[in-house]
Symmetry: C2
C-alpha cells in the first residue's frame, strides 16, 4: 500500500485557500458591485430570478478545463454545463451524500463578468472523506460572503447523508442546510437533464458507440435505474409522480467491496481500468465449459456465461490436487504467480463488473415489463461513462426485450440527485421552460372538465 494521496498532499500544501484550483472558485468573482446590485434586486423581488437555460450546452473540450482526476480527495468532472444567459445571483450549492460518494453541484459566474452567464460545476468526494467536502463548501461560502455580505449561502442537501450528517454540516458550515427527499431530487434532476440540456442523453452500443438522443415530446412514463452503492428503480409517470418499484443490493458498493478484498485495488477507477484489460473467461464458467460445445436446443451459445466465477473453485481444487500429488507446488506457494489458483485481478474485475451490470440490466428490463414502461434511463456514479458497463447494460436491455427497448444514459449520470436538489431551491419554474406545476394544473383541469362532461350526460352534476 502506498501512503494516501490525501494525507501527503495536505501536508505539502497546508494553506487551505490554495487547496482548490482557481478555476473552481471563480463562482464568486470580484465584480462585487454588480453582484450586490443583483442581490438587492433579488431581495426586492423574491422569486423573480430563474435559472436561464437558454442556449445551455455541455463544455466538452475547454483548454483550461482541469482533467477529471483525483486531487486531494476531490474528483473534478469535466463537462461543466454552460448557461450563457443566466445572469441572476445564485446563493446556494447542492450536495447529494450517498453511501459511498458525495456529489456537489455549484454555479459559477463566467470570466468574472455577468453578461457572459455562468456554468454549473460538478465534483465529488468519497463520503468517507466528507470532511474534504465540508472544507470545499466552507471555502465557497467564505468567498460568497466576502462579495455579498447581505446574502448568506445556503446548502441544499439530499441522499441519506443529508440526514446522517445534517448536524455536522450545519455546525461546521454555520449555514442553513435544507434537506430534500432523495428520490424526488433524482427525478427532478433527470427531468431537467432530459428536457433542458442538449447532448446530455445518449444510447450506447459496441458498434455505434455513443449516439445522442433527441428529446421526445412524450417524456412520461419512464423508468430510472439509479446505480450507486446499491440500486434503486423508480417508475416515473409524470412531473413529480414517481414510485420506487424495486432495486437490488448488488450495485457499485458490491463491486467496490469485493474487488478491494480480492485485488487490493484502492480506487473504483483502478478497478475499472483492470476490467478493461481482463478476460472474464479466466474465472467464469461458460456453457462451453459445461457442454464442451453450445446448447443450441435452447439457444445458449458456447460462449454464454453460465456461472460467474464458476471456474474458480474447480481450478483451485485442481491446483491443490496437483500440490498434493507432489507436482512441485507446496501449500505455501499458494499465492505465488506460478500457482494456477492465483487468478488474474483483471479477469476477476471484468467478470464481476459484467455480472453486476448484466444483473441490473435484466432486473431493470423485467421491472419495465411489469410496469409497462418503454424508456429506461440509467444513472448513478457506478456507470461513470465506462464502456464495458454501458455496453453490458445496453446489451442486456436489447437482448431481453428482443430489441424493442433500449437503455438511455446521461453524461452527468452521477449528479441527478444533486442537480435535483440544486433546482429545488429555485422559485417555481426555475430551470423549466414549462413548469411541473403548470403542466400538472393543465392536466387536472382537462381531467376535471372531462369528468364533468361525462357526469352531466348521466344527469349527475359535479360542483
Amino acid at each position: 500500500m502506498s501512503p494516501s494521496k490525501t494525507s501527503s498532499v495536505t501536508a505539502a500544501d497546508p494553506s487551505r485557500s490554495r487547496r482548490f484550483p482557481a478555476r473552481h472558485l471563480r463562482t464568486f468573482s470580484d465584480d462585487r458591485e454588480l453582484t450586490q446590485n443583483i442581490v438587492q434586486e433579488t431581495i426586492a423581488n423574491p422569486g423573480s430570478v430563474k435559472i436561464n437555460v437558454e442556449g445551455a450546452f455541455i463544455v466538452d473540450d475547454e483548454p483550461e478545463s482541469p482533467k477529471s482526476v483525483d486531487r486531494d480527495g476531490i474528483h473534478y468532472e469535466r463537462k461543466d454545463i454552460r448557461l450563457p444567459h443566466h445572469t441572476g445571483v445564485v446563493s446556494h450549492v447542492a450536495v447529494d451524500i450517498g453511501g459511498s460518494l458525495c456529489k456537489l453541484v455549484y454555479f459559477s459566474r463566467e470570466h468574472a463578468t455577468c453578461d457572459n452567464g455562468g456554468r454549473l460545476n460538478f465534483l465529488n468526494f468519497e463520503t468517507e472523506r466528507i470532511d474534504l467536502c465540508i472544507e470545499f463548501i466552507k471555502h465557497l461560502k467564505e468567498n460568497h460572503e466576502a462579495r455579498s455580505p447581505a446574502d448568506k449561502l445556503c446548502v441544499m442537501a439530499t441522499g441519506g447523508g443529508a440526514f446522517k450528517y445534517y448536524e455536522m454540516l450545519k455546525d461546521a458550515l454555520g449555514v442553513d442546510v435544507i434537506r430534500e427527499d432523495e428520490m424526488e431530487c433524482l427525478i427532478i434532476g433527470l427531468d431537467f437533464f432530459i428536457t433542458e440540456i442538449p447532448n446530455e442523453v445518449f444510447t450506447y452500443s459496441e458498434t455505434t458507440s455513443m449516439e445522442f438522443a433527441e428529446a421526445r415530446p412524450d417524456v412520461y412514463p419512464y423508468m430510472l435505474v439509479n446505480i450507486g452503492s446499491g440500486v434503486s428503480m423508480v417508475k416515473v409517470c409524470g412531473p413529480r409522480q414517481f414510485q420506487r418499484v424495486g432495486g437490488t443490493s448488488l450495485g457499485g458498493g458490491t463491486f467496490w467491496g469485493i474487488m478491494s478484498l480480492l485485488t487490493g485495488a484502492r480506487t473504483f477507477d483502478d478497478m475499472l481500468a483492470m476490467a478493461d484489460k481482463g478476460d472474464n473467461t479466466g474465472v467464469d464458467m461458460l456453457v462451453g465449459d459445461i457442454y464442451g460445445t453450445d446448447y443450441g436446443k435452447i439457444g445458449l451459445k458456447s460462449s454464454t456465461i453460465a456461472s460467474t466465477f464458476g471456474k474458480v473453485f474447480k481450478m483451485k481444487r485442481a491446483a491443490e490436487q496437483s500440490a498434493e500429488d507432489g507436482e512441485g507446488l507446496s501449500h505455501s506457494d499458494n499465492d505465488s504467480v506460478d500457482d494456477p489458483s492465483s487468478f488474474h485481478h483483471e479477469d476477476m474485475s471484468r467478470s464481476l463488473l459484467f455480472a453486476i451490470s448484466n444483473n441490473i440490466g435484466q432486473i431493470a428490463y423485467l421491472q419495465s415489463e411489469k410496469h409497462k414502461i418503454k424508456h429506461i434511463y440509467f444513472g448513478g456514479s457506478f456507470i461513470r461513462g465506462h464502456r464495458q458497463t454501458m455496453n453490458t447494460l445496453s446489451y442486456a436491455i436489447r437482448f431481453w426485450s428482443n430489441g424493442e427497448k433500449q437503455a438511455y444514459f446521461l453524461r452527468h449520470e452521477g449528479y441527478l440527485g444533486s442537480v435535483g436538489a440544486f433546482l429545488k431551491r429555485q422559485p417555481e419554474n426555475w430551470g423549466r421552460r414549462s413548469s411541473f406545476e403548470e403542466a400538472a394544473a393543465v392536466r387536472f383541469a382537462n381531467y376535471r372538465d372531462e369528468l364533468r362532461r361525462s357526469s352531466s350526460r348521466e344527469g349527475e352534476p359535479i360542483s
Copy 2:
C-alpha cells in the same frame, strides 16, 4: 490447507471393492435366480415393466441409513425413495453431469428379496472428480452383470457433462450411454416429484419452518428455478411443454468461487456452515448506515440492505487511514486479526449467500409475473435444504408478490435432472399413474371437440 480427504482415504483403502459401503451395493442382490426370471420376462414382454410408485415414500430415519457426509469424494444423500411395490428389473442408472456436481440416481432391490420392492438411491460427486463417479458406476455394472449376464447395464446421462464426457463415459464403462436433454429431464423429474412422491414438495418460512404441500389438481402452469452453478428459469405449461425463459449467471458457482477466494473454505457445506454463524451487517451497507435512520417515505427500513459488501471499502479505507496516521498498524499487519479490514469469513459468507438467494428470488418473481405464473418451484444443488437459503428465496417471493405467491421447495432438489433421465429410460407410462401422452391426448381431443362445436355454430365444419 490440509491434505485432501480424497487422496488420503484412497491411499488408506486401496481395494476398490471395499470403497463403497455395502448398503449402497445391495441393488443387485444375490437372489440371482429370481432376478433372472424377471429379466427373461422383461425380454419376452418389452415395455411391460413400469416403475410402480404405489405406496412410494421417502425414507426419513432409517437406522442403517448412512449419514449424508462426504466419503472418498462421494456425497451420499439420506432420504432414499422407497418403492415397496416395484418388483420389475431395472437395468439402468442415471447421471446428471453439471458444471460443478455430478448427480447419480440408481435403483436397488430391498433386503435381497423381490417382494419387498426396492428404492431409489441418490448421491453426488464433484464433476472435477468424475473419475470417482465412473468408478462407482463401473462397480454397479460389474455387480449387475454378475447377476444377470444376459442383461447389460445402460447409463442415462443428462446435463452438459453428458455431452462433454460422453466418449469418456462410454470408453471407461463399456456400456451404452444415452444422452438426454437437460431441460426436458429437469421437467420430467420435477413432474414426477410433484405428482407421485408424497411429502416431497414443501413451503418454508422462518416461523412455520417446513410445511408439506398437497399435490394440486391443476399442476400447470408452473415455473422451475433450477439453481446449480448457474441458474435456469423454465416455464412449464403442460407435460413436456416447456421453455427456458431466463436465468442468471449469479448462482451456486459464484458463491462457491468467490467464497473459496475470500475464505479459503474448501467445501460448499463448510461455506454454508460459516454463513450460519455470520452477521452480514459486518460487511453489508444498510439503509441505516447511509441515512442514520430509516427511509420511511419509500418504505425502506433502517435494517434493509442497501449494498451487499458495501461497507467493506469504507472500512478498508478507514483501516488504511489509521495505519497511515500512525495508529499502530503497519502495512504488513494487513492480515492480522487486529486489522479492522480483516472481515470475518462468516459475515462475508452470510452476506453473499443472502445476496445471491435474494437476487434469484427477485428475478424469479419478475419472470413469473411476466409469464403470468403463480407457482414457483426451486430446485438445484445450491439449495441443499439450507435454512437461510430457503428462507431468503421464500421471503423474496412473498415480499415481491405482496404475499400472493410462494416458493415451493423439494427434498430431492438436486436430483430433478437425474431422476428425469432415469424415468426417460422407461417405456411409455413408467413412473406415471396417468402418462404425459395420455393426458395430452385427452386435452387435445377436448380442444378439438370444442373447436368443432364452435365452428359448426358458425356453419364452417372442420373435418
